[in-house]
């Protein structure tokens, strides 16, 4: 592991010819590699059935015939600063610099389903994002920004966030007299990820499972350009999964949810349209590219053969990327520019459809403005200077790339079989099997890092010294929101509660409770509740109560008196 040049007693540099030699012979996902691949390694691979032209089944080479000449990937990243005003300003600036999707987030208490005045909110309040506790916060955050025909993306963790923030977007459009069918975008909504990765406390899985179907159903009928659900592999991989496990995971999640949708709601995949998988781009360059290619092919087969999708739209997988935050390091952060650039390149070579690149200062704190602009510029350079997107699937036909794509598919299929043998994804979630897989894989990776079998530049190899450029990056990183800002947020939510129309609130709360209890689609009731000024925490609490759970996900506070009174007789 000691790969630093050493000075001997005479203060002369020790010459070590093997310094920086390769230490690995396998991918990040532990796939052993040969030194070279030849036609023999892809014998039996058939162009028409295994690859197909871009835009043709099984979409290994991409989902559009002309790929990026037809449509460049959406350039988006999460923008959520501590204040609504800062976030609004940042959106406007980034859009002017070529951002093409608006990716929304909130602070962690909100994402957990808690209002800012909940006792557990204080510590993480406004950290990592806004406190969007009610519709009024969205109105401020998106003031002056278009709502129709813009790509919005909700990148939160829990089902309550997707329910509320989708409802806020729809409510804003309705309040402004706009046509909600023009709402575009996606929720990175995945009931498995919210539990296995985050242990999100808002709702138990039975409620998540139902609301997820409500959201898909409502979107299919009312906002057809909104993808209400996206199997997420980013966070499971960041928690420990390998690229192969990630591919299997997203496919299994999609299969589980769509099986419910078909059986319980009678909605076909063809009605849903294209599916979006939210995936990770890790540092292993070719493995990342091949993971995208293999996942597209596998989804096409599953959608067609297993889930009965008849249209090409429903068989073709859109891949949205968040590049790996985990791969970024606090040590010598300038190096993160190289990591992010290579990850962007692997995404484009892999034919992804939207890209949220992590920022070079992200391991230190929330991304600064300049680091964001670097993300956009790096993508512009890949596009306009390096000319990478001109030709679809430029690595298609490479012996190595086709072999690795096949290998990932084979390995992922084995995992899918194991999941089925264990009773399917919901059973694997419930039994803790999924969590165990993540933990075991994480420990295997960590052991390799400890043993120097996996080198991380600046961390366990090539440590070196940091100069003024690295220090400047560290100093630019985000500042912790002050106590005063947190107190103001609490005052804001209290003011909302004191000034809103009590009659309207009561009616909306009752309807939300009844819709939940009677098994009606509860999205409409949530939209109306948000228009009445019901907060996120209250929405979560009322839905929980309709299921017989306590109001507070963390069991630290009582339901507000007006809610107890309203629902007391129920």
């Amino acid at each position: 592991m000691a790969t630093q040049p050493e000075n001997n007693e005479n203060n002369s540099v020790v010459y070590d010819r093997s310094l920086g030699g390769m230490v690995r012979d396998a991918t990040q996902a532990f796939i052993p590699l040969q030194e070279v691949y030849t036609p023999e390694d892809i014998e039996g691979t058939d162009y028409e059935s295994d690859l197909g032209d871009p835009g043709k089944y099984p979409f290994t080479r991409g989902i559009y015939e002309r790929m990026y000449r037809e449509r460049l990937w959406i350039k988006s990243f999460i923008v959520s600063y501590s204040t609504l005003e800062d976030t609004n300003q940042a959106f406007k600036e980034y859009l002017a610099n070529g951002q093409t999707g608006l990716r929304l987030l909130a602070d962690l208490p909100i994402q957990s389903g808690l209002d800012p005045d909940h006792p557990s909110s204080w510590n993480a309040m406004l950290c990592g994002g806004i406190s969007s506790y009610a519709l009024e916060t969205y109105e401020k955050m998106l003031d002056g920004l278009p709502l129709e025909n813009v790509d919005y993306e909700l990148a939160h963790m829990g089902m309550s966030s997707f329910l509320c923030f989708y409802s806020y977007l729809v409510a804003m459009m309705e309040n402004q007299g706009l046509d909600i069918s023009k709402l575009r975008g996606a929720s990175i909504n995945d009931p498995f990820r919210s539990k296995i990765v985050y242990g999100c406390p808002d709702f138990p899985t039975e409620i998540d499972r139902r609301i997820n179907l409500d959201l898909i159903e409502f979107a299919v009928k009312n906002t057809p350009k909104w993808k209400a659900y996206a199997p997420n592999g980013v966070d499971p991989q960041q928690s420990g999964f390998t690229a192969v496990q990630e591919a299997a995971h997203v496919l299994a999640v999609a299969t589980a949810v769509y099986t419910d949708l078909i059986n319980e709601r009678g909605i076909s995949l063809d009605e849903v349209g294209p599916t979006v998988f939210s995936m990770d781009a890790e540092s292993d360059f070719f493995e990342t590219i091949c993971m995208f290619r293999a996942t597209r092919r596998m989804w096409a087969k599953i959608a067609k053969e297993k889930l009965g999708a008849k249209t090409a739209r429903a068989q073709s997988l859109r891949i949205g990327i968040r590049t790996s935050g985990l791969s970024l390091q606090t040590q010598k952060p300038l190096n993160n520019a190289a990591r992010v650039t290579l990850q962007i390149l692997s995404c484009v070579l892999g034919g992804v459809n939207s890209l949220d690149a992590s920022s070079i200062d992200e391991a230190i704190g929330l991304p600064s403005r300049e680091a964001r602009l670097f993300n956009l510029d790096a993508q512009h350079i890949v596009t306009h200077e390096a000319n990478v997107p001109l030709v679809a699937d430029p690595l298609g036909g490479s012996y190595y790339v086709e072999w690795l794509t096949n290998k990932i598919e084979d390995e992922a299929n084995k995992i899918l079989q194991t999941i089925e043998d264990n009773g399917g994804m919901w059973a694997c979630l419930e039994s803790g099997w999924l969590r165990h897989q993540i933990d075991a894989s994480r420990m295997r990776v960590q052991a390799e890092i400890n043993e120097g079998k996996r080198l991380i530049v600046g961390v366990n190899a090539f440590q070196g010294d940091e100069g003024p450029i690295n220090q400047a990056i560290e100093n630019c990183a985000y500042k912790v929101p002050s106590k005063k800002m947190r107190q103001k947020t609490i005052a804001d939510v209290k003011r909302l509660r004191a000034t809103r129309d009590k009659e309207k609130v009561n009616a909306a709360v009752l309807e939300l409770y009844d819709a939940t209890k009677e098994g009606r689609n509860l999205v409409r009731a949530t939209i109306e509740a948000s228009k009445a000024g019901v907060t996120l925490g209250e929405t979560v609490g009322v839905i929980r109560m309709a299921y017989g759970y306590g109001y507070d996900p963390l069991n630290q506070i009582e339901a507000p008196a007006f809610i107890t009174e309203l629902l007391g007789g129920k």
């Binding site: 557990s120 909110s121 510590n123 993480a124 950290c127 242990g199 933990d439 106590k483 963390l554």
Partner: protein, 141 residues
């Protein structure tokens, strides 16, 4: 058995809504491998729950983990809660994403270590052993 021969009993706590758990899990494993008794409380803890568990479980040391940048507030609350439950003799260490400018304040509260991501595991373990040794010496004196 002499006091210093007892295994170190360490509580790992995440206070508030921070969901970044990978560091805490890696450390829990490393501490166990280093012969410590580890009680990982999981996410969504309060300062009270961490301090109360530390006292009830007769913890040797408390380790706090946070990646939201709020360690200064968490440290304040946990130290106050330890005092309240009669555990102010229990040493406290921390790690995660901690702003450099917050370090002097956090150290002044008595919360040490404050290791960032990528810190070699032996560095963290050595620091914990050193804090425990100091507190055992202080208890004898």
């Amino acid at each position: 058995m002499a006091a210093q021969d007892k295994p170190i009993r360490i509580i790992i706590g995440k206070v508030g809504c921070d969901i970044h758990e990978r560091g805490a899990l890696v450390l829990a494993r490393a501490f166990r491998d280093a012969g410590m008794e580890v009680i990982y409380l999981g996410r969504y803890q309060t300062a009270d729950s961490v301090a109360k568990t530390a006292v009830d479980e007769d913890a040797t040391i408390v380790a706090l983990s946070d990646h939201t940048g709020s360690m200064r507030y968490i440290a304040e609350e946990v130290m106050a809660a330890l005092e309240k439950y009669g555990g102010s003799d229990i040493p406290v260490v921390a790690g995660g994403l901690i702003a450099k400018k917050d370090l002097p304040y956090i150290e002044k509260l008595g919360v040490t270590g404050n290791f960032g991501p990528g810190t070699p595991l032996p560095t963290v373990i050595d620091h914990i052993r050193q804090r425990v040794e100091e507190s055992r010496q202080a208890a004898k004196a």
